[in-house]
C-alpha cells in the first residue's frame, strides 16, 4: 500500500470516529459494576492510572472500601470482551519471518472475567478463544492467558497473595496493558524460546505496599521450555518506592529494582526444551517518572543465560532496556514514543534496536483508534542486519 493510500484510509477512519459522541460512558466489567467510566482506573485504556493500580493491588476492591464491596454474584455479570482489528502493514528484510504483509485483520479477541468472590478474595481470568487463520483473521491459539485468585489484606496491605496464572510483578511495566502493539524487546529477549519476562506465568506471588513502598516476591513455573513435569525453579523479588503521592502510574515518581533467577531447558522447535535445565538470571532497575501530563518509563536490565541455552562456549551476558515517553494531555488522546535496545556479546551478535511511535485517539472511553509505526533492526551472526517495519491503524474496543 502506498503512503497516500494509507494516509487516506487512516483519515477516513479518523473522520468516521470523529462523528461519534465524545462523552460516552464506557461500561466494561468493572465499570459496569460501579457505574464508573473507564478513566476512573485507566489513564488511557488499557494502561492503568494510579487509582486502577491500587484497585488491582487491592484484589479488585475500591481502595479503602473493602467492607462495602459487592461480590460477583451481587452485581451485573462480570464479563468483558476486548477485540481489535484494522489495517496492518509489515515488511521484513533479511528475516526468516514473513516478508511482506498488508491487509485488514481481525487481530485478537480477549474474553475477560474478574471481580470479587468474597471480601478480600478477587479473581481475574483472561481467555483467548481459538481462532483459525483465514483471510482477514489472524490466527489465535485458544488458551487461558491468565486465571488467578488473589487474597488481599492478609492482616495488612503488606501481605497479599496471588495464585494461578498471572502477569508477575517481575515486569515493572505491564506487557498486557502497555500502550503499544510492538513488544518491549528486553522482556522478550533471551535464549531461543525463553521469554522470561514477556508473558504470563503459573505460580504464587506475594505483594505488599504502603507509605510509598512496595515489594513483590514470586515462585513460578518459569519458561515454557520447561517440561510439564518440571518442578518450579524460578524466583523473583522486586522492590519499589514512590516519591510523592501516587503509584507512579500517572502521579509520583516510582523507582524500582528487580532480580530474577530461573532455570530452563535449551529450546527446540517443540514447545518443550530438551536436555538438562540451565540457569538464567535478570537484574535491573526501572523508573516511572511523571510530570505535566507525561510519563517517562525507563527500564534497564542485565541478563545472563547459561552457555548451554545458547550453544555457546561462554555464558551469554546481555543488557538492554527501553525508554518510553507518553503524553496524555487529556482523556481522549495519548501519544507515545519508545526506544528499545538490547546489546549482546559478539559470539551471538543479536543486537536489537527498535524505534516506535504512535497514538491512541479515544472516541469514547472504551473505543480507541490506535496508530503505530515501529522500525526494528537486529544483527544476525554471519548475515546482513534484519530489519522490520511495522505499521498499524486499528480500532481497539472493550465492552
Amino acid at each position: 500500500m502506498t503512503r497516500t493510500r494509507m494516509l487516506l484510509m487512516m483519515g477516513i477512519v479518523a473522520m468516521s470516529g470523529a462523528m461519534l459522541p465524545q462523552s460516552g460512558e464506557a461500561i466494561p466489567a468493572f465499570a459496569r459494576k460501579y457505574g464508573y467510566n473507564c478513566t476512573m482506573c485507566h489513564s488511557s485504556f488499557p494502561r492503568l492510572n494510579d487509582y486502577g493500580e491500587r484497585y488491582r493491588q487491592n484484589a479488585y476492591q475500591l481502595p479503602g472500601r473493602e467492607n462495602e464491596e459487592k461480590t460477583v454474584l451481587e452485581g451485573p455479570p462480570p464479563f468483558a470482551v476486548r477485540l481489535s482489528g484494522g489495517y496492518t502493514s509489515y515488511s521484513a528484510q533479511n528475516s526468516p519471518d514473513i516478508q511482506e504483509q498488508e491487509e485488514f485483520l481481525m487481530n485478537g479477541v480477549d474474553v475477560l472475567s474478574s471481580g470479587l468472590l468474597a471480601p478480600n478474595i478477587g479473581y481475574f481470568v483472561t481467555l483467548l478463544p481459538q481462532i483459525d487463520e483465514s483471510r482477514g483473521v489472524e490466527a489465535q491459539d485458544g488458551t487461558l492467558e491468565s486465571g488467578n485468585v488473589m487474597f488481599s489484606n492478609l492482616g495488612s496491605p503488606w501481605l497479599n497473595v496471588r495464585v494461578g496464572r498471572m502477569e508477575p510483578a517481575s515486569s515493572a511495566f505491564s506487557v498486557k496493558r502497555k500502550l503499544s502493539i510492538t513488544p518491549y524487546e528486553v522482556y522478550s529477549f533471551g535464549a531461543p524460546g525463553v521469554a522470561t519476562l514477556a508473558d504470563t506465568q503459573d505460580g504464587i506471588e506475594a505483594t505488599g505496599h504502603g507509605r510509598g513502598l512496595a515489594y513483590a516476591v514470586g515462585y513460578l513455573n518459569g519458561s515454557e521450555n520447561n517440561r510439564a513435569d518440571d518442578a518450579p525453579q524460578d524466583v523473583y523479588a522486586r522492590a519499589s518506592v514512590v516519591l510523592g503521592a501516587g503509584e507512579g502510574q500517572t502521579a509520583g515518581q516510582r523507582l524500582g529494582v528487580i532480580g530474577y533467577l530461573g532455570q530452563t531447558r535449551p529450546g527446540t522447535d517443540e514447545a518443550d526444551g530438551t536436555g538438562d535445565r540451565q540457569d538464567l538470571s535478570r537484574v535491573g532497575f526501572d523508573a516511572s517518572l511523571n510530570a505535566m501530563h507525561s510519563n517517562l518509563a525507563l527500564q534497564y536490565l542485565v541478563g545472563e543465560d547459561d552457555q548451554l541455552l545458547w550453544g555457546t562456549t561462554e555464558d551469554v551476558e546481555f543488557s538492554g532496556g527501553f525508554a518510553e515517553l507518553s503524553v496524555m494531555p487529556c482523556t481522549w488522546i495519548v501519544g507515545f514514543g519508545r526506544f528499545d535496545w538490547v546489546d549482546t556479546p559478539s559470539d551471538i551478535d543479536q543486537d536489537i534496536t527498535r524505534w516506535t511511535g504512535g497514538a491512541r485517539y479515544y472516541f469514547v472511553d472504551n473505543l480507541a483508534l490506535h496508530v503505530e509505526y515501529s522500525h526494528r533492526r537486529q544483527h544476525q551472526p554471519d548475515a546482513p542486519v534484519a530489519t522490520e517495519d511495522f505499521a498499524a491503524a486499528r480500532l481497539d474496543l472493550a465492552f
Partner: protein, 349 residues
C-alpha cells in the same frame, strides 16, 4: 471457529446484552434521581408541625442572647448555608466548621460534619446548647418557649403538650424535611433532555465518573456515599481536629469528615468542612493535588492530573446540579407577650 466456539460467543453476547440493559437503568448509575424523602415513623409530617418547625428554625430566642437562630448560619438566601468559612455564634464566637446546607439533609444518614447525630431530630438540638453557637440550655429554651403564648398554643396544637425538647426537635426536623431540591439541569438531562446540560457539563459528568474520581465518594442520588473520609483538610497542624474520631474513638477515623451532598453545591460556597476553599475551582485544584498528605489520608485520594479545562468542565457539571429549592423569608414569629404583639415587636428577624 468451531461450532462450540460459536455457541460460547453467542451465549456471551446474550449475557453482555443483558448486562448492558441493566447498566442503562438507574440501578447501576453512580448518581441517579432522588427517591422520596424518608420520614421516621415516630415523627410523621403534618402541616401544623411544619409551620411550628419553620417558626422555630427562624427563632433567635432559641439562643442565649436571642440573636442567633438556625437560619443565621443556614440562611435560605445563601443556599441554606453560610457564606463565611466557619460559623459565628453568640458573643461573636467563631467556630471551626463550615455550615453545610440543610437542603436535602433529610436524606442524610448522619448529620454534622463528624456525623455525631444520627437523625435530623438529634441534630436539631445540637446547635442550641453548643456554647459557641446558640449557647442556650435546653431547659431554658423550653422555659422561654412556654412563656410565649403563641408557641405554647402551637405545641399544644401539634403535640398536645407544652413545648418540650422532644417537640422542638421533631418540629424543626419536620420543617427541614421540606427543604429539598427540585429539578436541576442534571436531573432533566438524566430524564432524557439532552439539551439540559451544556457541553462543558456533559464533559464534566464524564470526568466526574472517571478521571476526576469524584463519584468514588460522591455517589448515589445524593452525590454522597454518606461515609467519612480524610482528605487531609486541616491535618497539617500539630494537633488537628479529630473529626469523626471524636465520635467513634477509632484511630482510623482521625481527620475524617462526612461526604457532603453535591446537589446545589454551587450556591453554598465556601467549601470543605472548614470553609477553606472559596470556589469550586479551588476545590478542584485541591483534589487535583491529591489532598493534603497525612498518615490517615484516604487511599482514594490521589493526584488526578486534570487540566485546567477539565477542572472547569467539572465545575460546569457541578453547577448543573443546582436544582430549585425553597427560598423564604422568616415567618412572623409569636411575640413575647400580647403587649409586644400590639406594638409589632415580635421575635421576627
Amino acid at each position: 471457529m468451531s461450532r462450540m466456539g460459536m455457541c460460547v460467543w453467542v451465549m456471551l453476547a446474550l449475557v453482555l446484552a443483558g448486562s448492558a440493559g441493566r447498566a442503562s437503568g438507574s440501578g447501576f448509575l453512580a448518581n441517579g434521581p432522588l427517591p422520596p424523602v424518608p420520614v421516621p415513623a415516630d415523627n410523621p409530617q403534618t402541616d401544623a408541625k411544619i409551620r411550628l418547625g419553620r417558626a422555630l428554625y427562624f427563632e433567635p430566642r432559641l439562643s442565649a442572647d436571642n440573636t442567633i437562630s438556625c437560619a443565621t448560619c443556614h440562611n435560605p438566601k445563601t443556599g441554606w448555608a453560610n457564606i463565611t468559612p466557619t460559623d459565628t455564634g453568640i458573643g461573636k464566637q467563631v467556630g471551626d466548621r463550615n455550615s453545610g446546607t440543610i437542603v436535602n439533609s433529610a436524606y442524610m444518614q448522619f448529620q454534622f460534619w463528624d456525623g455525631r447525630a444520627g437523625s435530623l431530630e438529634e441534630q436539631a438540638l445540637g446547635p442550641i446548647h453548643n456554647p459557641i453557637e446558640m449557647g442556650e440550655t435546653l431547659d431554658n429554651v423550653v422555659r422561654k418557649l412556654n412563656a410565649i403564648p403563641g408557641y405554647r398554643d402551637m405545641f399544644q396544637d401539634v403535640f398536645g403538650t407544652d413545648a418540650t425538647t422532644d417537640g422542638i426537635a421533631k418540629a424543626i426536623a419536620a420543617f427541614e424535611r421540606t427543604i429539598v431540591s427540585g429539578p436541576s439541569p442534571y436531573s432533566r438531562y438524566l430524564a432524557g433532555d439532552r439539551e439540559a446540560m451544556s457541553p462543558a457539563a456533559v464533559r464534566g459528568q464524564a470526568l466526574f465518573n472517571g478521571k476526576g474520581h469524584c463519584s468514588a465518594c460522591h455517589s448515589g442520588p445524593l452525590f454522597s456515599d454518606q461515609g467519612f473520609h480524610n482528605l487531609g483538610v486541616g491535618m497539617q497542624v500539630a494537633s488537628p481536629n479529630p473529626g469523626r474520631q471524636k465520635v467513634t474513638n477509632k484511630p482510623g477515623d482521625l481527620g475524617r469528615y462526612k461526604t457532603p451532598t453535591l446537589l446545589n453545591v454551587a450556591v453554598t460556597a465556601p467549601f470543605l468542612h472548614d470553609g477553606s476553599e472559596k470556589t469550586l475551582l479551588d476545590v478542584m485544584m485541591f483534589y487535583n493535588r491529591g489532598g493534603v498528605p497525612n498518615p490517615n489520608l484516604d487511599p482514594q485520594m490521589l493526584p488526578l492530573a486534570l487540566t485546567k479545562k477539565e477542572m472547569q468542565d467539572l465545575v460546569a457539571f457541578m453547577e448543573a446540579l443546582t436544582g430549585t429549592y425553597p427560598v423564604m423569608e422568616a415567618p412572623p414569629l409569636p411575640p413575647d407577650s400580647p403587649a409586644s404583639a400590639e406594638t409589632g415587636k415580635g421575635g421576627a428577624l
